[in-house]
Subunit: 305 residues, 2 copies
Amino acid sequence: MESSFEAYFTPNLPFQSEIEAFVDLQSKLQRPLAVVASGGTSVPLEQHTVRFLDNFSTGRRGAASAEYLLQTGYAVLFLFRDKSLQPFHRHFEGFAAKPAEFFALSGNGRWELDSALLTSVMETGVLQYRQVREERRYLPVPYCTVYEYVQYLQKVATSCARLGRAVVMYMAAAVSDFYLPFENFFVHKTSSDEDLVLRLQRVPKCLDILHSAWAPEAFLVGFKLETNMDTLLERARQLLERSGAHIVIANTLQERHESVWVVQHDRQERLEKASPEDELERQLVASVVALHRSYWQDNESWNQR
Amino acid sequence: MESSFEAYFTPNLPFQSEIEAFVDLQSKLQRPLAVVASGGTSVPLEQHTVRFLDNFSTGRRGAASAEYLLQTGYAVLFLFRDKSLQPFHRHFEGFAAKPAEFFALSGNGRWELDSALLTSVMETGVLQYRQVREERRYLPVPYCTVYEYVQYLQKVATSCARLGRAVVMYMAAAVSDFYLPFENFFVHKTSSDEDLVLRLQRVPKCLDILHSAWAPEAFLVGFKLETNMDTLLERARQLLERSGAHIVIANTLQERHESVWVVQHDRQERLEKASPEDELERQLVASVVALHRSYWQDNESWNQR
């Protein structure tokens, strides 16, 4: 990895010991483990950060997928952008935006919630959340910058390497393609003293490094988002060939809630929402889990590639 | 204003009629009105926005200030970055981040909150929130991009102009200095095919336009954030001279919760937190309100400037 990128790494990464203990436990219990990366990454443009570059992502796909993976019996390490959506909590979105509107002081001086606002999806979410926390099957790890993201990914992937093929790396985060090296921090103004010119460099390609170095045996799921359907599948296939990912999930920005493509080397499958109430991630996760099982248990057909 | 900036304005600005009705009511009831701008602005770098530039701001100063202004009897129009902190709601921050951790299903099948987690600050916040909403003294208006921000500011300020000196423009938002014009949208790659070069232009200076055109009679409060204390007061004074703001609130990034300077043309005053439990915004708002009253009621001394 480029040293100008690694220069941003911190010597004291939080959650290191939690990550190790969590992976240890899943290894001991022989649980399949999914590492779900979710949300956008930020790229600071100053040392005392006021300005930054960001990638738009609510974290909805990652958070929903993590929930279905947990329901399927996987342990999930959820590497997510601070303040983006989280599994289970995501059903409280409107509530989280305006909490003071949901409370009332009852006659006897007790604080109550407007129970009409608590849906069955929220109730189920709370119960499932408690369960996976009690079973120690779920660990959320928040990041903010692209540097924290890559450093966590390295830590998590190398910790998981001993689980071999039992691991899915579900790389749904919207990772910045570019960053501003320290040496470019001072802004360059043109002679007009009006324009600001930023010269950005390429962020290391994490999928490639996961496959070649950090977690070579893990089942690697890449994601490809495009705004143009005409080039989507071609670009997804390019990513698959280049990175060493086992499958690539491809979708357009416009259709992201309605349909996705699951792209493999020799085939591709289009998944659609079954009904307006359904979530696309339910089918997406079912498809990924089936492919992961075949990879994990039937090495032969995957090894031929 | 530059046409390449205005090209981003939308013909159908949401909340237009709410803004007009709100200003009408305050005018009718002869309430003093504070327009509080809060949070950072985003600058899209693409037409289908995935990447954007952003300014870091939790919105804490704006949200806390709006609360104290409401407590002082002002009507508040709160122009805030979507998902940044809001008055009253801000006390539920930890709660909003992990809602599913705060609920429990009681024995009789009713959903309850862990009441130990509801502090008196949260309780007071809910009661005050209900009151100001009932009195129609508080209107929140969310924005996301710097273009929405400027367009709302123009709409709000020109609507308020008829209230004359009864209006405070409390410009605490972290507004981007730069934006990417449509014609620069296509990224320019250098020959190495590695670096990305972005050429950004200056965002129009809102304080100057507020003073000279949109709300020339309003009491204009500018904000100056610096990372270096040595140049802070000099830069605050430059902003005061250039923009026509009546006062500038200045602070460093590092000390922003501990102390601020209230800078006027002929004097400056340093405010500090009275105690660890106190909020700096309590004193800040008291100081701003006193200066606004003197401006509003005693035209002479301010007119001499």
